[in-house]
């Protein structure tokens, strides 16, 4: 029989800390409030979460005379409601360090508000226990199959950059790049209108960090041939222009997305990168780049979305790709989780690099001592050195010279 359990961390957290963790992750919380039945008509969603997905979503309607109506919300491709509810509930469970939970949330004006959490959802009823047992068993089998097959994770990416004039005003990337392709553009919505300010590189994936960086250089070259105005400055990082957050999404396939893999990526990759960030980079969180930000992709893999745009330098890009590959294949042996500590969790969101640096060394040492590190050391060592030297990047600079992209035609 499958064993369902949560880490003991949640039980040790005070209500104040639970609320703080949810709020830092961008979710509303009324956990600390004593809820009285109001004379309202109100809709809540009760979500059974197990290992980063919803097993069941139910809509609960409370009326002014306490009648309750329950209906199931089904996973139908055509509506985004299920997806939005599932994402908020999974995000809440993850923020609270729960692999399994019943999350109750209400849709508010400002997004999801978490109203209650049950960390023993499998005790609710026998039916629910069976659902959890089956989900846990499925994940165990997938992880066993992965370990037996011994496949190497394949990595991809779609990091972003911006085009600026000398006066720091932005030029939409859509002036030069199409939506699709190896070098394309991406949209943001502003005041209900969609604009395409962000350039995005989509190199071919690879299981080899060196090859993936080669593909990235090729994508840069394609971008360079399309962006014909040489006077424009190319900027990367977390938020080189106020209000325009940039991401560096790493795509993984041939690796099972698990709660522990996501935790390892947050602790061993996102945390060190946050230490190197330009101070203005933290401004993108928590709307973007919150801990454990992932999306399952139609091709079966997933993308890890917590990192800022690592195009800021080849050294960072090489380090990120190599560390992501190492962590994806070895995370079962990487056991430190400093982000479990409230002050470190807070420091990540506040961009408090001094606090984050205090936990950096054991993380790096544990990675370096893995026998497999040897295969990645060339790309990770420079990043580790920069961490020890206490450097931070500067997102105002033009990234072209570092990537050997000609400034002149």
């Amino acid at each position: 029989m499958a064993v369902i359990w949560n880490l003991p961390l949640y039980e040790q957290m005070s209500i104040t800390e639970r609320t703080a963790r949810l709020r830092r992750s961008g979710l509303g919380s009324t956990l600390s409030l004593h809820r009285e039945q109001e004379n309202h008509f109100k809709v809540y969603y009760e979500v059974l979460v197990s290992q980063l997905r919803a097993l069941r979503v139910r809509k609960i309607v409370y009326t002014g005379i306490k009648q309750v109506k329950e209906t199931s919300v089904l996973r139908i491709e055509e509506t985004s409601r299920y997806r939005r509810i599932e994402r908020a509930a999974v995000k809440a469970a993850y923020a609270l360090n729960l692999a399994h939970a019943e999350i109750v949330l209400e849709a508010s004006e400002k997004g999801a508000v978490i109203t209650s959490v049950n960390d023993y959802p499998w005790l609710i009823s026998d039916d629910i226990r069976l659902m959890y047992e089956q989900a846990v068993k499925e994940t165990e089998l997938a992880l066993e199959a992965e370990a037996e097959a011994g496949t190497v994770p394949v990595l991809g990416m779609d990091p972003e950059f911006l085009l600026l004039r000398e006066d720091r005003s932005m030029v939409p990337a859509s002036q030069f790049l199409d939506r699709q392709g190896e070098a394309g553009c991406d949209s943001i919505s502003r005041d209900g209108r969609r604009i395409y300010p962000v350039a995005e590189l989509r190199p071919n994936p690879s299981a080899e960090p060196r090859e993936l960086i080669t593909h990235l250089m090729h994508a840069f070259r394609t971008a360079s041939s399309l962006i014909t105005d040489r006077s424009l400055i190319w900027c990367a990082g977390g938020m080189p222009v106020k209000g325009i957050p940039l991401g560096g999404h790493v795509h993984f396939s041939r690796v099972v997305l698990s709660f522990e893999l996501l935790r390892a990526l947050d602790n061993y990759l996102a945390l060190p990168v946050a230490i190197l960030e330009d101070p203005r980079s933290a401004g993108r969180r928590p709307r973007y780049g919150y801990l454990g930000d992932f999306r399952v992709q139609p091709y079966g893999g997933f993308e890890y979305r917590t990192l800022p745009s690592f195009l800021i330098s080849p050294m960072i890009a090489k380090g990120v790709v190599a560390m992501a590959g190492l962590i994806a294949s070895q995370y079962r042996r990487l056991n430190l989780r400093p982000l479990d500590q409230p002050e470190i969790h807070a420091a990540f969101y506040e961009g408090d690099r001094v606090m984050l640096r205090s936990v950096m060394e054991p993380l790096l040492q544990e990675m370096i001592l893995l026998p497999e590190y040897r295969g990645f050391h060339k790309y990770i060592n420079p990043l580790v050195s920069a961490l020890y030297e206490g450097k931070t990047w500067d997102e105002t600079r033009d990234i072209r010279p570092l990537w050997n992209i000609p400034l002149e035609p």
């Binding site: 309202h40 109100k42 009326t63 004006e109 060196r210 080669t214 190197l276 080849p314 090489k318």
Partner: protein, 185 residues
């Protein structure tokens, strides 16, 4: 096999989906029933009707629905249903738009992917009206004539499947060396 001189390219003009968009939104309506409500016993939305019109660089969905509120009054001693028809205009931006489409041939359509539903109804602070929060979602399409490039086969459509290589440039990665890049932060 790469494209030899025998293959020809044609530009054809065809009707195609040239733009797409999707928007989820939450809106609050205020309904004032004939009696001052004590509590809200139910709230639902019916008779949703809508149409799409082209508007600038987006598509506007114009529609109406009826809000029904079952409420109690006189300290929960009596109940009634208040009905109100509301109209709305929702501007849905296009996340994709073919720049080559012929503007004079544009037709637009919208689909309500999630019927408007009430997620909250509460008595307003002055005790006279009811605030209703409604979630709705639309997917829109812009259809127009556009130019499409096609490869014309000189061999017709025989059973003999030719293995065409549609011009994927053999990527030349040999000269790209990640190790040549500076290890600067």
């Amino acid at each position: 096999m790469s494209l030899g001189h025998k293959q020809q390219c044609r530009e054809i003009i065809t009707k195609a989906i040239c733009g797409k968009g999707r928007k989820f939104s939450t809106v609050t309506h205020t309904v004032t029933p004939p009696h001052n409500p004590t509590s809200i016993l139910g709230a639902w939305i019916i008779n949703h009707e809508y149409e799409a019109v082209a508007a600038g660089d987006g598509i506007e969905v114009i529609g109406t629905y009826d809000i029904n509120i079952w409420y109690s009054y006189d300290q929960n001693s009596q109940t009634d249903v208040a009905k109100e028809t509301v109209s709305y205009v929702e501007n849905v931006p296009l996340s994709y738009l073919d720049p080559k489409h012929r503007a004079s041939t544009v037709e637009v359509s919208a689909e309500s992917t999630q019927e408007p539903s009430c997620v909250e109804a509460s008595v307003s602070s002055n005790g006279e009206s009811v605030l209703i929060r409604v979630e709705r979602e639309f997917a829109v399409e812009l259809i127009a004539e556009t130019k499409v490039n096609v490869i014309v086969s000189p061999h017709g459509c025989g059973d003999d499947d030719k293995d065409y290589d549609f011009g994927t440039v053999e990527a030349d990665f040999d000269e790209l060396d990640p190790d040549s890049l500076d290890d600067e932060l």
